[in-house]
Symmetry: C2
Subunit: 216 residues, 2 copies
């Protein structure tokens, strides 16, 4: 995954006094891994910086050599999650192949990503609000970016004639719908999973989406 100049990685944007770039990466990865686990378990606000330090095997002082604030950690966490979701979705799109049911296959693979990263996606819904506004904006932009992957795929399928042609606004809305119906599994899972397995959920929602997109 390449990044444009206007979108440097999260790490690049958070300052540190530590000189060794590799070390910074490694330490921050430790911090993020520990923080993700704790945030999912107890939420951002109920997790203390000391706990994060402890869980990532550092002293509190050391932790603060790699981040300037607790919000920094949340931001790193959100970025890491997005990167992983984006990677998952991109892979899903590639693997979906090019047959007659590509779109169904894309949806299936995307929903599996949502299923696998359920807690992480939920975390972003619930805690990204705690970020300072400019960083929240970056996180929201990432959401759009993931929906953008679907937009590109659907447009490509339209040129290939696999999917009926639509005007742009329709395509975009469909992409948002697919994205959100995947997320729905994450934030209504406590209820939905009583009635449907992820496979059944996917099957039903795919049918729903494809019918909704069909030529009128």
């Amino acid at each position: 995954m390449t990044r444009s100049q206007s979108d440097p990685g999260a790490d690049a944007v958070i300052p540190t006094q530590i000189k060794d770039r590799m070390l910074v990466d490694r330490r921050r990865r430790q911090i993020v891994d520990a923080a993700v686990r704790l945030f999912i378990e107890k939420g951002f606000h109920k997790t203390t910086t000391r706990e994060i330090a402890g869980a990532s095997g550092m002293s509190i002082g050391l932790l603060y050599e790699y981040v300037a604030s607790k919000e920094d950690i949340l931001y790193l966490v959100c970025e890491a999650i997005h990167a992983e979701v984006e990677r998952g979705v991109s892979q899903a799109m590639e693997k979906a192949g090019g047959g007659r049911d590509v779109l169904a296959e894309m949806i299936r693979r995307y929903f599996l990503v949502c299923h696998r990263m359920s807690n992480h996606i939920l975390l972003i819904y619930q805690e990204s609000r705690a970020l300072p506004p400019p960083w929240r904006k970056r996180v929201l932009d990432n959401e759009v970016k993931i929906t953008g992957i679907f937009i590109d795929c659907i447009k490509r399928l339209m040129t290939e004639g696999v999917v009926p042609r639509k005007e742009n606004p329709s395509v975009e809305l469909m992409a948002h719908n697919i994205t959100v119906l995947g997320h729905m599994w994450t934030f209504r899972r406590w209820f939905l999973s009583r009635h449907y397995s992820i496979e059944e959920y996917t099957r039903r929602q795919t049918r729903f989406i494809l019918k909704g997109m069909a030529q009128t």
Copy 2:
């Protein structure tokens, strides 16, 4: 709206030493009104109990005569929002009438409720996590209850032959989809509203949903 015995109102469940029932209601309404405003503006965790007291015209000591903790306030807020959404949705269903396009009309009215209560619905998505587990459960149950209104309506429309017959799991999933696509306007509004007005959003999504529900 009547409440079953197993579901006493939120007020009934939070203890207080104050004897005057009416006063308790009034004061708690003051607290909730102020808290909703502040929570929407700055979030639950960044709002202090003193601010809530100030904004509702009470001393901090008095505030704590009507609630036992800050979480109590969040719970009252969530319940109040749900009550209003539920009222809005019920009204929407009634007013939708019984013509051939009832379902479209229901969706339209429901989406307008989501539009009007956008910030409130978002608040529940973002902050209900901070509730103690048993209360969080009550809040989630309320979500299901609202979806239940749609389930009942769709089933009724099926008996009346206005909508094609489906098995129960299909109906339930459609009801969840309608609910969530309304919510989508609240948590992607910052993006969607650049491209669609609420009316256009509703028109497009209604078409999508109805096609998706049509007989195969």
